[in-house]
Subunit: 108 residues, 2 copies
DNA sequence: ACCATATATTCTAAAATGAGAATGTTACCC
DNA sequence: GGGTAACATTCTCATTTTAGAATATATGGT
């Protein structure tokens, strides 16, 4: 295996790791509607501010979201539409899978 | 937010968590060529057997791979082509991103 | 039944992650 | 410059994850 392959595997694992938390998934999903300040996110997601900032830092470090300061506030938005696409695709698949399982159960 | 949304977020986070390890990504990528026994995977990926089995168990528990016993050996294969598609999409995106960064650096 | 091979599980110690409290920093207003 | 709101960072502690060693569990061959 080439060393570039190894880097890709590591990179992909890192991105997945950043996505591997329900709160962070919720943040991403909320930001799909458009940029939001930290305070807005705290209100929407109902999470303690320090903790939210930590999760935002993780998403920022993987270039999944980006921050833009505007006066007193910091607006967060989705940085990479393509990665979000992959994320959406996965969610759609899992939603379908869940739905299919639900139907199976109701047949039994 | 509905409780079904919460379940989806948790499910998506769980699947991403299963993908959040370079070894497991490599396993998935190796299995794209077709089913392999544990011994074959040990040889290809160069990893200790106990550890590989642990990673396979994680992928199995999230229904990302499935196992089929054949005599003495256990063949592993990809269980859900759709999830693999999302995984491939993400890899493609990251590969392009890496390539783009590489080019940017060479311009500087 | 016994042995060897293939795979899985359990155990342990180290490292990483998560939440929340406390504290720092930045920018605005007076 | 002092105060306040918005956000980030640091610290602590509990939990989870990881690799590898040791051990257990098949299965097929003799």
């Amino acid at each position: 295996m080439s060393s570039i392959d190894k880097r890709i595997y590591q990179l992909q694992a890192d991105v997945c790791k950043a996505l591997a938390n329900p709160l962070r998934i919720e943040i991403i999903n909320t930001l799909k509607e458009g940029a939001k300040t930290v305070t807005e996110l705290v209100d929407i997601i109902k999470v303690n501010q320090a903790n939210l900032s930590q999760h935002l830092a993780i998403l920022r470090s993987k270039k999944i979201v980006e921050a833009r300061r505007e006066g007193n506030s910091v607006y967060y938005s989705l940085a990479n539409p393509k990665i979000i696409e992959a994320c959406n695709l996965l969610r759609r698949i899992l939603r379908e899978q869940l739905e299919a399982e639900r139907k199976l159960i109701s047949i039994k």
